[in-house]
C-alpha cells in the first residue's frame, strides 16, 4: 500500500462540468461562425427555463437512483400535478396556496405508492413505477382531451416569467431545491442511509439502517420534485396539460441527466450537483441546435452519442479506480 493511496478521499469536480464547458465553448464558436449569437438574453433565458423544469425532476430522480431504485412514473406525475394545480386555482389567486399544497400532496401520495410497492411488496422498481405510471396515464387519457383549468395569474407572473437579470425565478427554485437535496445527502442521516442502501442493501441492513423507510422517503421526495416541476410547467403554460410530462420525455431525460451527471445507475454513488451539470449539458445542446436550426433527428443522434460517451467515460474511470 503506497502512501499515496491513503490520502483522504477527495471529491473531484464531476467530469460533466468539463463536458459542459467544452460544449458551451464549441457551441458558441459554431453558432458564431453560423452568424448567430449563443448567449443573447433570450437564448440564455430559455436555456435556463428548460433546465429548471428538467432539473427539478432530475434532482428527485437522483435520490431514488442513489438508493438503488428508479422512477419511471415522473412524467405522468408532472402532468397530473399541472392539472391538479391549474384546476384548483381556476384562474384566481385566492386558491394559490391550497392548489400548490394539493398538487404536492397528490404527487407525494404517488411517491408513497411507488415506495411501498418497491419495498413492502418487493416489486422491481422498473416494473412498479412503470405500472403506477400507466395507471396515471389511464386516468389522464380517459379524463382529459386537452388543457384544463387556469393557472393563477400571480403564479404565472412570478414562477412562470419573473426573472432577475437573465436568471428566471424558476431556475433559482432549482438552485434552492438542489442545495437542499445536497445538504440532505451529505448532512442528514437520511442521506447517509440512502447512499448505503443503494451501495449495498445487506450492509445497510446489518448496520441498523431501516432500508424500507429510507427508500420510501426517497420515492416520496422524488415524486414531490416531479410535482413541483408540474406546478412550474403549469405556471409557464397558464393551464393544466395532461400530456406535458410525456411529451417532454421527462422520465427518460431525467434519468439521462442523472447518469451523465455521474451517478451510478446501480445506486450508491453520485450526487445532485453532477445531475444539475447533466441537466445544463442537455439544455445547452438543445439551445445550440435550436440556434443552428438543424433537424430534430440529428439532434437526437447527438444526444444519444453524448449519453453513451458519458457512461463509457464513467465506466472506464471506475475500472481504473478498481485497479
Amino acid at each position: 500500500m503506497s502512501a499515496l493511496s491513503l490520502l483522504p478521499a477527495r471529491r473531484p469536480v464531476p467530469g460533466v462540468f468539463v463536458a459542459l464547458t467544452l460544449t458551451l465553448v464549441i457551441g458558441w464558436l459554431v453558432v458564431l461562425v453560423d452568424g448567430g449569437q449563443l448567449f443573447n438574453q433570450s437564448t440564455t433565458v430559455s436555456l435556463l427555463h428548460v433546465a429548471a423544469g428538467l432539473g427539478l425532476v432530475a434532482v428527485g430522480q437522483t435520490l431514488v437512483i442513489l438508493g438503488g431504485s428508479l422512477d419511471l412514473s415522473v412524467a405522468y406525475v408532472i402532468s397530473l400535478s399541472t392539472l391538479v394545480a391549474a384546476e384548483t386555482m381556476n384562474g384566481s389567486d385566492g386558491a394559490l396556496m391550497p392548489a400548490i399544497g394539493l398538487a404536492l400532496a397528490v404527487s407525494a401520495a404517488v411517491g408513497l405508492l411507488n415506495g411501498l410497492l418497491v419495498t413492502k411488496f418487493r416489486v422491481n422498481a422498473f416494473i412498479a413505477t412503470l405500472g403506477v405510471g400507466l395507471l396515471l396515464k389511464g386516468y389522464l387519457d380517459s379524463g382529459y382531451d386537452g388543457p384544463a383549468g387556469t393557472t393563477s395569474p400571480t403564479l404565472v407572473q412570478t414562477l412562470g416569467y419573473q426573472r432577475i437579470g437573465p436568471v428566471p425565478l424558476s431556475f433559482l427554485l432549482l438552485v434552492a431545491v438542489t442545495g437542499a437535496a445536497w445538504f440532505a445527502l451529505s448532512r442528514t442521516r437520511f442521506g447517509h442511509h440512502l447512499v448505503a442502501v443503494g451501495g449495498d442493501p445487506e450492509v445497510a441492513r446489518l448496520s441498523g439502517v431501516r432500508n424500507d423507510r429510507v427508500l420510501v422517503t426517497a420515492h416520496v421526495l422524488c415524486s414531490l420534485c416531479a410535482g413541483l416541476a408540474g406546478i412550474y410547467l403549469a405556471s409557464r403554460l397558464g393551464s393544466g396539460a395532461p400530456r406535458v410530462g410525456t411529451e417532454g420525455l421527462y422520465d427518460l431525460e431525467s434519468i439521462a441527466a442523472v447518469v451523465i451527471g455521474g451517478t451510478a445507475l446501480a445506486g450508491g454513488r453520485g450526487g445532485v450537483i453532477g445531475t444539475v451539470g447533466g441537466v445544463l449539458l442537455l439544455a445547452s445542446i438543445d439551445a445550440i441546435f435550436n440556434q443552428l436550426e438543424v433537424d430534430a433527428f440529428f439532434k437526437q443522434v447527438i444526444r444519444g452519442v453524448i449519453i453513451i460517451a458519458a457512461v463509457a467515460v464513467y465506466a472506464r474511470r471506475a475500472m481504473r479506480k478498481a485497479a
Binding site: 448505503a196 451501495g199 445497510a204 439502517v209
Partner: protein, 503 residues
C-alpha cells in the same frame, strides 16, 4: 465448577434455524457472563456465523430464546440488537467501499447535532476509536475501497466498537490480520473484558482461542457438542470434538532434492508501482513460501505474476521463454492460477451457484463446447476433494459459510491443472480438518510437477509447508530462508531487524 460465575449477560436456549428446509442450527444452548470471553469453534459450515447473526439480530431464529441480562428478547432486526447493546464484527466485511472510514464506522448511528450529521464529530470519534486499537496511520476520511484487507478488518472492528456494546461478537476477527495486529486485538479484548463487556469469539486459530477465552463451545453440524473450561482442555481434545476424529498435526512431507524439476518461472530485476528489484526463481515440484508483513508487497507480487497489475520493468521467463504477463487472461493461458486473498471482493460471484463459481475459470479459458461434461465431472470431484459442505452444488455461493466459499475458489483453480499456482492466504478462514486436507492437496500438486508460490501470514503454516521461504519488505525481497528457518528468522527479516541475508 466451584466458583459461582456472575449472572449471565446472554443466555441462548434451544436455538434452532433452518434455511430452505435444511437444518443449520438445532437446539443450541450457550451463555456468556459479563467480562467473559466465550469462544465458539467448529468446522466450516458448523453454524457458528449463523448463530452469531441470530444473536445480533441479522436472522430470526426458528426456535429457542435469546435472553439478555435475564430478560427474553426478540430482535426484529439488527437495529433492535444494536439498541440492546450487541455489537458484531462480521466474518465477511460489512463495509461500503465507496464511503469513507468514518461514514462506515458510524453507518446507522451517525452523530447528529441539531438534527444534522456532525461530520467533524464523526471524524474525531473515528480517529479516537482507531487510535484506541493502535491504528494511527489510517485516516478517518480515507475511502474504504482503497484500503487493503487488513485495514478493512480494522475498520470493521472499529465499526463494532463504535456501538459501545455490552456484548461484542467477534466472528473471525483475525482472519485478515498479521501477527502484530493480532497482538493489538488481544490488548483490545482484555480491555473490553476489564470493562465488563461479554465477548463471543469465533476463530479457527486455536492458539487465539486458548490465549483469550475462559470457556469454549464446540459446534458440529449445527449442534452443540460440548462446552468446556479452557483451562482444563487441550487442543487435541478440542479438535477431536470438532472433527470427530484424531488429526495428525504434521504437515505433509517436503520435496526431496530429487523431486525438484527444472526452473519454471524466473523473474529478473522486475518492478512496478509497488515492487522494486524483484529477483525470483520458482521450480517445478517446489512450494515457495512468501513471508512478510501486510503491505510488504507479497500480494503485489502475486498480482504482478498473474497480470492484474503487471510488472512495468524487468523480465519474466516461463519454462525458458520470455513472456509478458499483461492480463489475467494471458497468465491463465500460460498455466498460472491465482487464489486471491480478497474472497468477497475478487474471489466469488455471490449470486451464482457453487458449480458455476467453480467452473468460472475453466469456462473462461477453454473453448465453450469441447469437453464440457468432463470438466463438470472433474470440478464436482474437486469440490468433494476439498470437502465443500453446503446444500449442494446448485446453491448460490453466497449462502455457503465463509470457509466453504474459500474451498470452492480453490477448486476453481485446481480445475485448470495449472503449472504454476499462486496462493494468497489459501487457508484463511478454513477449519483445521479441511486445512490439513488443503495442505496435502497443495503438496500433491507440487509432487505432480506444479510450481507453487504460497503467501501466508500464518507462520507455522508458512514454515511447515515451504521448501524455501522468501521474505518481503517494503516492496522488495528482504531475503531468503531455508525450510529449516524459525519463526523468529522470518519475523526478523520481515521487520528488518537483521541485515539482509544474501538472496
Amino acid at each position: 465448577m466451584s466458583d459461582p460465575r456472575p449472572a449471565p449477560l446472554l443466555t441462548l436456549r434451544g436455538i434452532g434455524k433452518s434455511f430452505l428446509g435444511v437444518r443449520v442450527l438445532d437446539g443450541v444452548d450457550l451463555d456468556v457472563a459479563p467480562g467473559e470471553v466465550h469462544a465458539v469453534v467448529g468446522e466450516n459450515g458448523a453454524g457458528k456465523s449463523t448463530l452469531m447473526k441470530i444473536v445480533s439480530g441479522g436472522y430470526a431464529p426458528d426456535g429457542g430464546t435469546v435472553e439478555l441480562a435475564g430478560e427474553p428478547r426478540v430482535f426484529r432486526g439488527p437495529r433492535d440488537a444494536q439498541r440492546a447493546g450487541i455489537g458484531i464484527i462480521h466474518q465477511e466485511f460489512n463495509l461500503l467501499p465507496g464511503r469513507t472510514v468514518a461514514e462506515n464506522v458510524y453507518l446507522g448511528h451517525e452523530p447528529v447535532r441539531r438534527g444534522f450529521v456532525d461530520r467533524r464529530e464523526m471524524l474525531d470519534r473515528t480517529a479516537r476509536l482507531l487510535a484506541s486499537i493502535g491504528e494511527t496511520a489510517l485516516p478517518a476520511d480515507a475511502r474504504v475501497g482503497r484500503l487493503g484487507v487488513a485495514q478493512q478488518q480494522v475498520v470493521e472492528i472499529a465499526k463494532a466498537l463504535a456501538l459501545d456494546a455490552r456484548l461484542l461478537i467477534m466472528d473471525e476477527p483475525t482472519a485478515a490480520l498479521a501477527d502484530h495486529e493480532v497482538e493489538l486485538l488481544y490488548g483490545l479484548v482484555r480491555r473490553l473484558q476489564e470493562r465488563g463487556i461479554g465477548l463471543l469469539y469465533v476463530s479457527h486459530r486455536l492458539t487465539e482461542v486458548f490465549d483469550l477465552s475462559s470457556r469454549i463451545t464446540v459446534l458440529k453440524d449445527g449442534r452443540r457438542v460440548t462446552t468446556v473450561d479452557t483451562a482444563t482442555t487441550t487442543a487435541d481434545e478440542l479438535v477431536r470434538h470438532m472433527v470427530g476424529r484424531e488429526l495428525s498435526s504434521y504437515y505433509p512431507e517436503r520435496a526431496a532434492p530429487e523431486d525438484l524439476g527444472p526452473v519454471r518461472l524466473t523473474v529478473r530485476d522486475a518492478g512496478n508501482r509497488k515492487l522494486r528489484d524483484v529477483d525470483l526463481q520458482l521450480r517445478a515440484g517446489e512450494v515457495l513460501g512468501i513471508g512478510g508483513l501486510q503491505g510488504s508487497g507479497r500480494s503485489a507480487l502475486a498480482r504482478a505474476l498473474f497480470g492484474v497489475s503487471p510488472f512495468t520493468t524487468g523480465d519474466v521467463t516461463l519454462d525458458g521463454r520470455p513472456v509478458r504477463l499483461r492480463s489475467p487472461r494471458t497468465a491463465m493461458r500460460a498455466g498460472i492460477a491465482y487464489v486471491t486473498e480478497d474472497r468477497k471482493g475478487e474471489g466469488i460471484v455471490p449470486r451464482q451457484s457453487v458449480l458455476d463459481n467453480a467452473l468460472l475459470a475453466s469456462r473462461a479459458v477453454f473453448a465453450a463446447r469441447s469437453g464440457r461434461a468432463a470438466r463438470t465431472v472433474r470440478v464436482r470431484e474437486l469440490l468433494a476433494a476439498v470437502e465443500v459442505r453446503g446444500a449442494g452444488d446448485d446453491q448460490e455461493i453466497r449462502f455457503l459459510s465463509g470457509g466453504n466459499q474459500q474451498k470452492v475458489v480453490l477448486a476453481r483453480w485446481l480445475a485448470l491443472n495449472p503449472r504454476i499456482l499462486l496462493f494468497d492466504e489459501p487457508t484463511r478462514g478454513i477449519d483445521v480438518g479441511a486445512k490439513s486436507a488443503i495442505h496435502d492437496l497443495v503438496r500433491r500438486l507440487a509432487r505432480d510437477g506444479a510450481a507453487v508460490l504460497m503467501i501466508s501470514s500464518d507462520l507455522p503454516e508458512l514454515l511447515g509447508m515451504s521448501d524455501r521461504i522468501v521474505v518481503m519488505r517494503d516492496g522488495r525481497i528482504a531475503g531468503e530462508l531455508p525450510a529449516s528457518a524459525s519463526e523468529e528468522d522470518v519475523v526478523a527479516l520481515a521487520v528488518g531487524t537483521v541485515r539482509e541475508a544474501a538472496a
